[in-house]
Each structure stands twice: as C-alpha cells, then as structure tokens.
Amino acid sequence: GESVGLHLPTLSVQEGDNSIINCAYSNSASDYFIWYKQESGKGPQFIIDIRSNMDKRQGQRVTVLLNKTVKHLSLQIAATQPGDSAVYFCAGLLAGAGSYQLTFGKGTKLSVIP
C-alpha cells in the first residue's frame, strides 16, 4: 500500500459482513504480492499470496485480486469475524538469485463491530 501521511487507514465492518481491503503498489517488477495480518502485540502473519501472472486467488474465507493495469491489489474477507480485527499489510516480493526481498505497504486497520 502507498498511503499518504501518518494516519493508518481504517476500515470498520459489521460482524458477518464482507471486508475489502485495498492496496496500491508502485513496483511492477514484483514477482509475488502477499497479504499479512498483524494482531496487536504480535509479528505479521502470512495470509495469502498471489503470483504476478495471476488475477485472482482464493483461500479459506479470503480472496486476493490483482489488477496489474492499475497496479492495485485487494484482500476480500468473507463473513468477517471479531478475530479478523488486525492491521493488514500488503507486500511486494522481488525474487533475486536465491534471495527474496519483501517491501511492505503502510497497512490498514480493520475493526470488526460485534
């Protein structure tokens, strides 16, 4: 994500509704795009990734969409639950010779309203 300014974007969603978290990226050379979830007091945790040559990938309750034309990535969470409350980061991954370099966006805070 490329949020401007020091304020963390926030999204409030009613429990049971679907959530959509958006991310814009600048580096078209990224080989993968990845979503991470960070709960309070913990390190980021991998959710799902998508190769740069794909448009859509589905996991359990999550779907990632990639639109390379407009350099946009989204994470959709179905039937959002209180346990989904966290900060979500998108990241671009550049794979070199035997190495992987992750560049993170600034994050979006998801709050689930019971």
Binding site: I34, F89, Y100
Partner: protein, 110 residues
Amino acid sequence: DVKVTQSSRYLVKRTGEKVFLECVQDMDHENMFWYRQDPGLGLRLIYFSYDVKMKEKGDIPEGYSVSREKKERFSLILESASTNQTSMYLCASSLTAEAFFGQGTRLTVV
C-alpha cells in the same frame, strides 16, 4: 511450526550505547530480514541476508549494521543508539515467498 525468536520483547537503552538485537530461527531458512515498524509508516526494511556472512542493505540501513555468522542467527547492531531509533524491530526468515516473523522488540532510546 516455524519459530522465529527475538531475544527481548522490550528494551530501554541510553543514547550513545551500542545495542544488539538478536534473532534466531529454527527452520534452516536461507533468508533473514530486519524491519522497523513505526506508526503510519508500516514496515521498512533495514537489512537482509540470503546466506551466512552475506548481507544486503534495505531501504533504511543508516545507523545500523548486521551480522550473520551462523545460518540460524541474524543480529542487528545499533553502533551508537539515538532517540530516532526508538521503534518496534521485527525479524523475519523465509525460504520462499512466505516470511515468518518474530514477535518484535520494542526498543526505547532515552
């Protein structure tokens, strides 16, 4: 389960001190990373390493150095701590695209 362990959860150091942040992973991963996380700025890459004794600068290496003498251990060094290095520091390791993070070290420099 992959485990990435950072030696301290909370650390308070004085300006000018030399600070060592240690990170150990138990999954024989080639790649290890140090990030700092600040409100509104997300995670910014300080240094990474893709092999023993190899290191590469990330986006904000100034004021930091690293050491990777063994595959499982990646140390971040603040040669002379300054107040603007007060932050949450996150270590990660990876073999492929999926990175595994430690719980973080919250460093306060006074």
